[in-house]
């Protein structure tokens, strides 16, 4: 009978991790629906980016208040996970405070966790205030209505509850240690929870033990639930920020990819020895689609971007088009890409892993032409993203589809392109007048 809690714990742990693994596999499958892209270049720069931007949070602090609060929650998350390791081992082995043998160092660790937990509670509260009381504009754009807003708050509530459970567990433990209850050996330092412990002093030992056990179980179950919540939430960024900053753009922001498929065609057109009347090779593969109208036309790194986005809205708040009231919101581009990708993934789940065309696509059903044409390609969104997401590249790929596959450019742009084709300038001036300025006074 003594082993029942251990077995129950093992079942919970394995179930929680197995379910999470299943969703991670789905995530990887969905991301792999994107086109391949060579990311073997600039290896050392990529590692540096990951260390500075994801691990070092260098771009978060561009906005000091949110950056500082975020670092508290981030550091708290990483460091308190050391404690989770102990909790898991205790749960499996039926021990209590397994690492207590570390002595003074253990006290230092537990003490640090407690202070961090308190700081996280404060930071999470301030984040909640920013979203719900101060109502910062970037949390209220139209794309945040409904689930995204709830998701943002839910994450804060979960983190708050987890930290409170952690401190309650420690407070009860501390109280039991003070009462010299067997099994609760004196270990750890409790700079925060020692102030909560007096609340329990009038309770019976058995009640405090129940409280301690309840908080302990709820805390670890909460963590397993939170782990599994990630996949359904914007909160995936805590994991994906690392690969995303590694695979992020390493070339100058102004450098847009040259489409290889177009280069082939252009070389052929420019080649004087090419026979324009040659019959096409019957075995030749179908010509590649130019640009992107759906998520499968994007590169896998762009799909990773979409899953990594945590909807902070820094991109949108810096976007000149959005600031001046246009429909374009770079955050919405990322959210739409993710939502469509999820829809495609669910379609595959329902059809034995094969995508059955559903008559929908990213272009039109999610992202409108109006949004795409409002972009000035200024890179403000790319610069603003704290985890190297590139909404601009998706906008550009979709513009390419509109222009090269659908000839659906605004007529002003068609005029501009006609001019370039005819006279080598975006305006209707004669090429032969190009140097006239040098003769004018």
């Amino acid at each position: 009978m003594d082993y029942i809690p251990n077995i129950l714990f093992a079942i919970l742990l394995v179930t929680g991790i197995a379910f999470f693994t299943k969703n991670v596999k789905k995530l990887i499958r969905n991301i792999k629906l994107g086109k391949s892209v060579d990311t073997s270049d600039h290896t050392s720069q990529r590692w540096k980016n990951m260390i500075a931007i994801a691990l070092g949070q260098s771009k978060m602090v561009v906005r000091p208040i949110a950056g500082f609060l975020h670092i508290i929650v981030y550091v708290g998350f990483i460091i308190i996970n050391i404690e989770v390791l102990e909790i898991i081992l205790d749960g499996l082995l039926g021990t209590h405070r397994l690492f207590a043998f570390l002595g003074g160092f253990y006290s230092f660790l537990i003490g640090s966790f407690e202070i961090l937990a308190l700081l996280v509670i404060v930071a999470v509260f301030l984040f909640w205030v920013r979203r719900n009381i101060i109502k910062l504009k970037r949390f209220l754009n139209p794309e945040m209505a409904g689930w995204p807003k709830k998701d943002g708050n839910l994450i804060l509530y979960i983190e708050f509850v987890l930290m409170v459970l952690f401190l309650t567990m420690n407070a009860a433990d501390y109280q039991l240690q003070q009462m010299d209850v067997a099994h609760y050996t004196k270990a750890g330092a409790f700079p925060v929870s020692q102030f909560i412990a007096p609340l329990f002093q009038d309770m019976s030992v058995s009640s405090i033990i129940i409280l301690e056990r309840a908080a302990w179980w709820l805390h670890i179950v909460g963590i397993l639930l939170f782990l599994n919540y990630l996949y359904y939430s914007k909160h995936l960024h805590i994991l994906l920020a690392f690969p995303n900053t590694y695979f992020g753009k390493v070339r100058p922001k102004g450098q847009f990819d040259n489409l290889d498929s177009v280069t082939k065609e252009v070389k052929l057109m420019m080649d004087p020895s090419a026979d324009p009347f040659a019959a096409p090779d019957e075995n030749a593969p179908l010509p590649e689609k130019f640009g992107a109208s759906d998520v499968m036309d994007l590169k896998w790194t762009q799909l990773l971007n979409a899953y990594t986005c945590t909807e902070c809205g820094r991109c949108t708040s810096e976007c000149p088009a959005n600031i001046t009231g246009k429909k374009l919101s770079p955050r919405k581009i990322m959210m739409d890409t993710r939502d469509r990708l999820e829809e495609v993934g669910k379609n595959m789940d329902a059809n034995k892993g094969v995508f059955v065309p559903d008559g929908k696509q990213l272009l039109g059903d999610y992202i409108t032409n109006e949004e795409l044409w409002a972009c000035t390609t200024c890179n403000a969104c790319v610069e603003a993203c704290p985890i190297s997401i590139d909404p601009l590249s998706i906008i550009m790929d979709m513009r390419q589809y509109l222009v090269m596959e659908q000839s659906a450019a605004p007529s002003d742009l068609n005029n501009m392109m006609g001019n370039i084709e005819n006279n080598g300038a975006p305006w209707p001036f004669n090429q032969m007048d190009r140097n006239n300025w040098s003769k004018e006074s």
Binding site: P252, I323, T324, Q400, L413, M416, I420, W427, M432, D433
Partner: protein, 263 residues
């Protein structure tokens, strides 16, 4: 003075068996737009004064393809690029200077993949080099005490991380450099990039150039300095829209330097 612009073309120099040190890529705006032509001429005056060995392609130059590429027309972009690269390579061009950040970005970053490899500099970088190597000397008298704010062109700043060259030049003018709320890597676009210059904006509640001009007006400048012919147009329109053209001038860095030199 004004009539003495010396603008050799590559074809002339090549016929004379000469190779200039640097090719001045004028760009479409610099060649055809009345406002931008003034920038082109100001820059050439400085080049002449500093006795820089340069040439232009003249009628052999053609649009880099930037607006076509940003509009989504990769075909047209690559056609333009390949044609231009053929001309540049035929003249064995090694170094290019341009007063247009869009041409600068495209030739520097997007031509190498198509066979065009050159050292490409923006005219503010080139001017800074001329100044530092003593080939031009600037006396700031004219601009002493003037408040100048620099509007970062997206394709020079964020796109290529060039923030300091234009600012160093402004400081050399003895002027007071004042920064707008959004500057450098967080600079606000003028609204012209991504081929927006050639179309009407989408529906919204304000034009982007007005938003940017308001940011500039907040720091009460005498001059808004620009480093891009398109930004120049947008900011000039913005200043007019705000009825400030009597008190705020929009000038390119090259024009400031040329004026400081009394050219």
């Amino acid at each position: 003075m004004e009539n003495e612009l010396k603008v050799p073309t590559m074809v002339e120099l090549s016929a004379a068996g000469q190779q200039p040190d640097v090719l001045f890529w004028v760009g479409c705006a610099g060649s055809f737009d009345d406002r931008a032509k003034k920038i082109t001429k100001a820059f050439v005056k400085i080049l002449n004064k500093a006795k820089v060995s340069f040439a232009v392609l003249g009628t052999e130059e053609s649009c880099t393809g930037d607006p076509a590429k940003r509009a989504g027309n990769e075909f047209l972009f690559q056609m333009q690029a390949v044609t231009n690269i053929e001309v540049l390579n035929a003249y064995e061009v090694k170094k290019i200077v341009t007063a247009c950040p869009h041409c600068f970005n495209t030739i520097k970053n997007e031509y190498p993949g198509l066979g065009g490899n050159y050292e490409v500099v923006h005219h503010t970088q080139f001017l800074k080099h001329l100044l530092e190597s003593g080939r031009i000397a600037v006396e700031g008298g004219q601009f002493k005490g003037k408040r100048i704010t620099f509007h970062d062109p997206c394709y020079l700043g964020r796109a290529n991380n060039v923030y300091e060259a234009p600012r160093d030049l402004i400081r050399k003018l003895d002027a007071e450099l004042v920064e707008m709320k959004s500057c450098k890597s967080r600079g606000l676009c003028c609204g012209a990039g991504g081929a927006q210059m050639f179309k009407e904006p989408e529906k919204g509640n304000k034009d982007i150039n007005i938003e940017r001009t308001e940011q500039a007006i907040e720091v009460t400048p005498d001059i808004i300095a620009a480093g891009c012919p398109f930004c120049n147009t947008m900011m000039t329109d913005g200043v007019k829209g705000k009825d400030k053209e009597a008190s705020i001038a929009v000038m390119d860095i090259a024009e400031l330097i040329a004026q400081a030199e009394d050219l």
